[in-house]
Symmetry: C2
Subunit: 96 residues, 2 copies
């Protein structure tokens, strides 16, 4: 399945900055970073369940927000991009 | 058509901060903000063309990045959300 993960983590405190690093680190284990807080993930259902559980445990639900979009089969191959290039193959190997 | 717009604008300079405000303002005219740099947009093809042109003109292509995802018909109704609620109806009226 193809997912897009976007997040806002409140970073006004050292705890928030640590949560932000943790959320990014979790996403890096599953997908490709395309912007500061945006990851493209191609994975199996079982991996998605693990990913969501890890994100759920990492955030402060009162302060942070994570959104997981379920994309159609070809959405990741059909992204319009403006500006600074950040070309990655969403189906390529992960560099962790 | 249903779109997801995500952006990174380099804000290390006053010019960058102005570009960030401009990009957000443009997106507010077309869709619903769901995170700091993420907008859900339900629009016609002609509006999308205008939106992309406006974003193209607003950013510094060497420093900023905008991504436009073309979502399937029901993707916006099937978003998993963790944490701080930011519930909006992506098909509801725009508040500008």
């Amino acid at each position: 399945m193809d997912l897009l993960i976007t997040y806002d983590v409140e970073t006004t405190t050292p705890e928030g900055q640590a949560r932000l690093r943790r959320v990014a680190k979790i996403c890096e284990g599953y997908g490709h970073r395309v912007q500061k807080s945006v990851f493209e993930v191609v994975c199996r259902e079982v991996d998605k369940i693990r990913l969501v559980a890890a994100l759920h445990a990492a955030i402060d639900a009162k302060r942070d927000s994570v959104r997981i979009y379920h994309l159609g089969r070809h959405a990741l191959d059909d992204v319009e991009h403006l500006g600074r290039p950040r070309e990655t193959d969403p189906r390529g190997p992960l560099v962790i």
